[in-house]
């Protein structure tokens, strides 16, 4: 205890009420419930993934284990779910449509995406790099229904003019649009994995006399191989799961496409266009949920593979 007035005041100072002290006391008191909340939220991702699978599977189950002939389901082209004679649920044409559109879009997107990733990370600098990155972000931000709109009004007439196709909405149209949609994913993940290759690799190669192109294709591609593969897989996942753009751009025809200029129909678009009509609990409704299960399984596998492939990097690189 001192007799200095200022000191006495400061002795009392720590007992003063202040907002920030109350706030901190509240924060401390909330520690236990907050930590519990944090743990619960941490489990939320698993919870939701399981929930999605559970709810979709639940609606699909009666048909899946009931009267749906799985062999016919996967191998028949006849998709007549609301037939007055006898409903037929064959998704072969839909699988072919999804496959054709995905594969063709990847043929466009992978070279361009990887090429752009390499260009951005290795060959250009400064303003060009910034501009390109902005363009890629713009591409990524455009919503899916707008892409569908672009496909119908811009790409469709272009296709008719340049290839003399009979109709402008077809596999080619949807593939071009899907390629433009998947490229940002491939570029950003690809660029990240190229950046992750240590500079020492590049420096060693250059000191041995390699040109920039040789550094890229002899050193970086093998080193970043896993990340690039993951980038491609994620692009594939995006293409498979896309709904609105393909609904508008493929022509929505139940038919196995024999050429790029044929219209087709994808699994996702089928669900989107038919779910509203299906009466809840009926066969058609449940079969659409079965298709949902198939889609979920496929994208799950693709993402799992991408994740394992990326983990492979940690296993291999030990510098």
């Amino acid at each position: 205890m001192s007799s200095n007035p200022k000191a006495i005041a400061s002795d009392f100072g720590h007992k003063r009420i202040s907002v920030s002290r109350i706030w901190h006391k509240l924060g401390d008191a909330a520690e236990l419930p907050m930590v519990w909340l944090i743990h619960i939220c941490g489990w939320s991702a698993i919870l939701f993934v399981l929930a999605i699978f559970a709810f979709v599977f639940r609606e699909a189950a009666p048909m899946l284990f009931g009267q749906l002939n799985l062999v016919e389901f996967f191998t028949s082209e006849k998709w007549y779910p609301d037939s007055v004679i006898e409903p037929q649920y064959g998704i072969l044409a839909l699988l072919a449509g999804t496959g054709a559109v995905t594969v063709t879009s990847m043929v466009f997107a992978v070279p361009i995406g990887l090429g752009a990733a390499v260009f951005i990370s290795e060959f250009c600098g400064g303003k060009v790099k910034e501009t390109l990155k902005i363009v890629i972000e713009v591409l990524a931000a455009i919503p899916s229904v707008v892409w569908g709109f672009i496909g119908v009004v811009v790409v469709g007439p272009l296709i008719i003019q340049t290839t003399g196709a009979a109709v402008g909405v077809n596999v080619l149209n949807a593939s071009i649009i899907l390629a433009l949609m998947s490229v940002p994913v491939i570029v950003s993940v690809g660029e990240d994995s190229l950046k992750a290759v240590p500079d020492s690799y590049r420096e060693a190669a250059i000191s041995l006399g390699a040109s920039r192109w040789e550094v890229v294709y002899k050193v970086l591609f093998p080193a970043a191989r896993n990340g690039l593969l993951a980038a491609v897989l994620l692009g594939v996942g995006r293409a498979i799961g896309e709904t609105m753009a393909v609904l508008l751009c493929t022509g929505h025809a139940v038919k196995i496409p024999h050429s790029l200029l044929d219209p087709a129909r994808t699994l996702t678009a089928t669900i989107a266009s038919e779910l509203g009509e299906a009466v809840r609990g009926e066969g058609h409704y449940r079969v659409l949920f079965v298709i949902g299960v198939v889609l979920f399984a496929v994208t799950f596998l693709v993402n799992l593979t991408a994740d394992l492939v990326v983990k492979g990097i940690r296993g291999q690189q030990h510098d």
Partner: protein, 439 residues
């Protein structure tokens, strides 16, 4: 020989010193055609002599032309305007250590006299056959002259660079062209009125206020639900989770949740919110579905933002006796707020643009919304269906008859513009907050 001072086209390349060998000409000429010789041997002999003279004059051997050319021609008169084709190419390099060589690029002669001697020997043994119109080149190989190997590599490098540039441009050009075209077609209708008026005359005129406000509420409510859960989940994953198989599964779940197709989200929304939770088709159900869709990206970006805070900050706190939660609350979260906010705002644009998840969970074709006043800002209750901008575009494209093109393009442009504006805001915010960081 009369010296003509006209410019000999052959002499135009100053780096090449030409020796004309013309057997039919008489004598050793001077002048423009000065180095005209009767045979290759005489030409070579002349080269040697000149070299000795030059060497005697000054010791430095670095000047002079790099290449000597012996051109064989038929007639002097045809010499003008003709370019002989190099048939043989020899090299000598005075920097070499060795004393041997055979004149090739890889193994040059060590100096000019030995080069001349080697060429003479080749000529005498008959291995140097020349026809009129051919020429022999003798070059000094400099250290930094590009070899043909190097030239090939340089070409490959240039090709590679142009190919990659072309690939990148093939992205830029379509995007810019498409955006320009859309804006051009939408131009007549873009105005403040377009944004603030409701659709009129069966949606063939007027504006997009009702869908716009609907999208606003959808995004707001879905983010109000997703952001807290996502941020706390990110906190868990970065601060509390240990590196075991359990955490790995959570990470896997986040990645998978991010990759679920949007239509499967819609199926989930119908199954869980519309049916099981009995929300019916409503703003609430649609927002919940959108929340689940935007959750994984918020988790990931929060995690990255938290990871960017240096460990030393946390360690300093722990050293002073703070608990984990106190550290997070007072130091880690405030310092990572920029990254977290950016992640959340970027999801705004995604939630605004998606159509499939709201298609069956709450979007409507047409709703009457008040045109002005308080009502027009809060037109939707939680259990009402809503109009949304993305759905509106789809409706205009497929179902509304006789709608002028500008309105459809206008809706698309507004949607893109909204998304881009929000994204730009997020980036600007991130840059601003980063600049205020003290570390």
């Amino acid at each position: 020989m009369i010296e003509t001072k006209k410019k000999d086209p052959r002499q135009s390349n100053p780096d090449v010193r030409r020796y004309i060998v013309c057997p039919s000409a008489s004598g050793e000429g001077q002048g423009a055609m000065e180095r005209t010789f009767a045979s290759i041997e005489t030409a070579l002999a002349a080269i040697s002599r000149e070299n000795e003279v030059a060497n005697a004059a000054d010791d430095s051997n670095t000047g002079g032309e790099a290449t000597l050319a012996l051109d064989l021609i038929d007639k002097l008169e045809e010499a003008d305007g003709q370019r002989n084709k190099p048939r043989y190419r020899f090299f000598y390099d005075t920097h070499l250590m060795g004393s041997d060589g055979d004149g090739t690029e890889r193994d040059p002669w060590p100096d000019l006299p030995s080069a001349v001697a080697g060429m003479t020997e080749l000529h005498q043994s008959g291995r140097l056959a020349l026809d009129p119109g051919d020429s022999i080149l003798l070059s000094r190989r400099q250290i930094f002259t590009s070899t043909s190997l190097e030239r090939r590599r340089k070409i490959k490098e240039a090709i590679a660079q142009y190919v990659f540039m072309a690939m990148s441009l093939s992205l830029v050009v379509p995007v810019v062209a498409i955006l320009a075209y859309l804006t051009y077609k939408a131009w007549p209708v873009l105005s403040w009125d377009f944004l603030t008026l409701n659709p009129q005359s069966r949606m063939t005129a007027g504006g997009i206020w009702a869908p716009l406000i609907g999208t606003f509420f959808l995004v707001l409510i879905s983010l109000l639900m997703a952001a807290p859960i996502g941020v706390l989940a990110g906190v868990y994953l970065n601060e509390y989770a240990r590196d075991n198989w359990y955490t790995r599964i959570i990470n896997l779940a986040v990645v998978n949740l991010a990759g679920v197709p949007s239509i499967v989200h819609a199926l989930f929304g119908v199954g869980a919110f519309v049916l099981a939770a009995r929300c019916g088709e409503s703003l609430l159900a649609a927002s919940c579905t959108l929340a689940v869709m935007t959750l994984p990206v918020i988790i990931t970006s929060t995690r990255e933002a938290l990871a960017a805070v240096p460990m030393s900050f946390r360690e300093a706190c722990w050293n002073m006796g703070a608990s984990r939660w106190q550290t997070i609350r007072t130091i880690v979260l405030p310092n990572s707020i920029s990254g977290i906010l950016t992640g959340i705002i970027l999801q705004v644009s995604r939630a605004a643009g998606e159509t499939a998840p709201i298609l069956f969970t709450g979007a409507a074709f047409y709703l009457k919304v008040a045109d002005k006043g308080w009502e027009s800002f809060f037109p939707y209750g939680l259990d009402d269906r809503v109009m949304a901008l993305s759905m509106h575009l789809y409706t205009l494209m497929t179902q509304v008859n006789n709608v002028p093109d500008e309105i459809v393009y206008g809706t698309a442009v507004v949607l893109i513009g909204l998304v881009l504006a929000v994204n730009s805001f997020a980036i600007v915010l991130r840059v601003y907050l980063r600049s205020r960081k003290k570390w």
